[in-house]
Symmetry: C2
Subunit: 507 residues, 2 copies
């Protein structure tokens, strides 16, 4: 081992650690903005986030960082010079270089302005959503789309500007590939939906009624304890759009949303966001500062959240254990409802307007619709002022229903206000990744249903830790899934799962 | 007007504004640490705060900052070069220079290590307090005192190292002056206390009983609304040691502590902390970045909090309005208690262990005692391991009672864990400043009692804004008080007030 390489690697990790500290601080500020901050502080918070974004950019593109990095890897060609480092370390160098090239492509001023604009836009979006007034948000969206296009130009791309945007969230995956995958799943899903719509609808009225918030909070805590989401390193708050926010493996917070008239929203959200946070909490802390203590991509992140939310939280065996507890908590509402009826109810398929509340079958269609819209926006095929109507048209085409307002239409999601174009596809990629992963899991634990039925869930986290968490960004998403599952990645397990599960439920 | 001076001044404010943003971010991190942060995140938060402290120090001592500053004021001699700036602007230059000299005196490494140590120590202190185990905190206190002495050396002083420490919190005031002032007030207060102790004690048992937390919160909100503490720019949370934390005039948060068995603690704390936050909220935002949008000193800060807590919140006229509302909120407990009895009860004088819960007469003795102890520590007249007993001895000498544990002794306050030596004297200075200030206020509003009795309080904030808030750091503390009161500052108004008020209550 060349001791210089070892020393340089350590130095690189130390420099990056400081940058990570600042990124963690930014996460806290954003979390605070969504959960705690007094509303009048919005303008100053925008300035604070802008200053942090500038600082982080400065650090990520500093000469000091470059100097150490280029001793280990050739920045122009990507050739690894420190060939005697370990395999994971060499993978880390490749990621560090990729991040550096991306970061260097964006001028500091652009980064700061983008941070200030999106911090402000979030506040405007929230108010516009409350008032159901797209026109209030439209001028901000216009500016955001302009900056997004500029960003794609700065980042560079071969085929399509969308590739540059997508690459920020799902490195290595191209818009063309997404388009093909989405095309492949869209048709069978639409057919499945049609078949389901021709069947007798399941009864779910008992999921709605009076479910006092305090009881929902206490019940939610039990589920979080069972899955291993500990309050030693996390906490649960409320926000308009639930999220998981991690500033370090030891500080990974989630938010939820409770409807006092519906029992399932809080439970689904908690499992989903805990899925994200468990991933972050499970990253190998000893590599903090290096890509080996970072999540691979948003698609992999989403595979984790959907794994817990849908594959576990909408399974019959999970509820074999948790349903009796739920009945006990909400006696008057659920005492006479059987486990079988409950299971069918929480898997009811029905076209609806809100993506995050959609069932497993219509969910992918929501995502594909947003992907189509974003492509049209980037390609200038649609004007901002037409978004509200275009959204409604798309929902009608995909789902056969039409929203009559923007709160349930184009204002429902926070992402555009965050400037997060290219983000939506990862929601469906996550589902696609989760399917083969669950197959592999069930092969490793043929008795998983028995364990779930006893309320045992910590072994799932441990399995995911072994297969996913501990690698950090050592592999790209598809590679990681293929390693974990020992299968070639395809959409088949996902389509099979949906078909088999819903064939059984709807007969 | 020399346009260069104008431009340079603006540039100086812009550079400083960025530093202020980072300082505001640090405030949010500290606030989060005390109120929201998962306990397991303590080590990483210490690192984050250390990184921010280093960054702030870097900015405050940067060549860029110095270059612009020295165009306006001679850094070595303090001679103002930009003589054509306005009087407040010239005062700002003097403060900027003073801050720069202080900041430059501290090595970056020292600043970072101090931030990390005190962030960690707070967590240790909190646990030690819970466990009532001074020995757990002692090793940290040892390190802190070592660093504090080093800090005094770095900062420099003429007569006594304590001057350097005090100067951080109360610029321009020396340990000798404090010692004289404290000596001047100690004797008459001890005599007053003795006289009171010879009289019949007032009855206050009705202040203790069952006061449900949720009702206390709602009642507290009414008081906050009345004094003008708006949730648009603030929020209220809970913490072990209540505090006010401001990251900007538009984001100034407070915390409180509620005893479900006592009604007054929450009310006093809210008025106290709101007093601090109203000051911060009232600073002239247009000068954000310059000393003209900063508080003068901790003594002036404390004059504001005590003004609201004691001079208003323990006055009969305030309660003429608020007591009927309190009776309505807690019927069973207070229905048969008259306003007169209530007023006497909340002003009951009795030696006790906890400073923040002390009455107005014993409060100054708590502060003097800590000042004496800190002086002994700095002068190496006492060893850390003897602090626990020395504290108990001091309490016995000053108040005639002896705590039998550290939770009610030397572990009661957060300050030492924060490394805030030199801070305590400002608590008494604040009371001393508040007295002439209230005299001046009552001259400007001879009908203040009538107004209070109608629940009118916003005019107090507006008066303070005119006399205190709007000047930022244009004046030093004594100068500001003398300007506001048109009197030479002395301890007399404070001693007169205590004497007259308690002579009436205790006959």
């Amino acid at each position: 081992m060349d001791t210089n390489h070892r020393q340089n690697y350590q130095e690189l990790q130390e420099i990056s650690l400081k940058t990570k500290l600042f990124m963690g601080i930014s996460s806290i500020l954003s979390w605070d903005q969504e959960t705690m901050m007094p509303v009048g502080a919005a303008p100053i918070r925008a300035q604070q986030l802008k200053a942090m974004a500038g600082l982080i950019h400065e650090h990520r593109t500093s000469k000091e960082f470059r100097k150490v990095l280029e001793r280990l890897i050739d920045i122009d060609t990507g050739k690894i010079l420190a060939t005697d480092l370990t395999v994971p370390e060499k993978a880390a160098l490749v990621r560090w270089r990729r991040d550096y090239l991306h970061e260097r492509a964006l001028p500091q001023k652009f980064v700061e302005e983008f941070a200030a604009l999106t911090s402000q836009s979030q506040v405007i979006w929230r108010k516009a959503k409350e008032k159901n007034a797209f026109q209030d948000f439209a001028p901000y969206l216009t500016k955001i789309v302009q900056m997004i296009k500029k960003k794609a130009d700065y980042l560079g791309y071969e085929d399509h500007p969308y590739d540059a945007l997508l690459d920020q969230y799902e490195p290595g995956v191209k818009a063309k590939k997404v388009s093909e995958l989405f095309h492949e799943v869209k048709k069978p899903i639409v057919e499945l939906l049609k078949k389901i719509q021709s069947k007798k609808q399941v009864e779910d009225s008992f999921l709605f009624g009076r479910f006092p918030t305090s009881k929902q909070i206490a019940y939610g805590r039990k589920i979080l304890d069972a899955v291993g989401y500990t309050s030693e390193f996390g906490r649960v708050d409320f926000s308009s759009h639930p999220f998981s926010s991690s500033s370090h493996p030891r500080d990974s917070r989630i938010t939820t949303r409770i409807h006092p008239t519906g029992v399932m929203s809080n439970i689904s959200v908690l499992l989903h966001e805990a899925g994200h946070s468990l991933y972050e909490m499970g990253l190998p802390e000893e590599h903090y500062g290096s890509p080996l203590c970072e999540a691979v991509s948003l698609g992999i992140h989403e595979s984790q959240s959907r794994f817990w939310e849908t594959r576990i939280g909408q399974s019959k065996s999970f509820w074999s254990h948790f349903y009796p507890l739920l009945q006990k908590t909400f006696k008057t509402q659920l005492n006479t409802v059987s486990l079988e009826s409950f299971y069918k109810a929480i898997n009811k398929v029905e076209a609806s307007f809100i993506r995050v509340e959609a069932d497993e079958v219509t969910y992918p269609l929501h995502v594909i619709m947003r992907f189509d819209l974003e492509m049209e926006l980037i390609e200038d095929k649609i004007r901002i002022e037409d978004i509200s109507e275009a959204w409604k048209d798309k929902v009608e085409t995909f789902l056969g229903i039409r929203p009559d307002n923007d709160r349930e239409g184009c204002l429902q999601d926070v992402h555009w206000s965050l400037g997060a174009f290219g983000y939506f596809p990862t929601y469906l990629l996550g589902n696609l990744y989760a399917a083969p992963l669950f197959l592999a899991f069930s092969k490793d634990y043929p008795d998983w249903e028995k364990k779930f039925a006893k309320g045992e869930l910590l072994f799932v986290r441990d399995w995911l830790s072994k297969k996913i968490y501990r690698f950090g960004r050592q592999y790209d998403s598809v590679e990681l899934i293929e390693n974990a599952t020992e299968m070639t990645f395809s959409a088949k397990p996902y389509l099979d799962y949906l078909h088999d599960k819903y064939a059984e439920i709807y007969g």
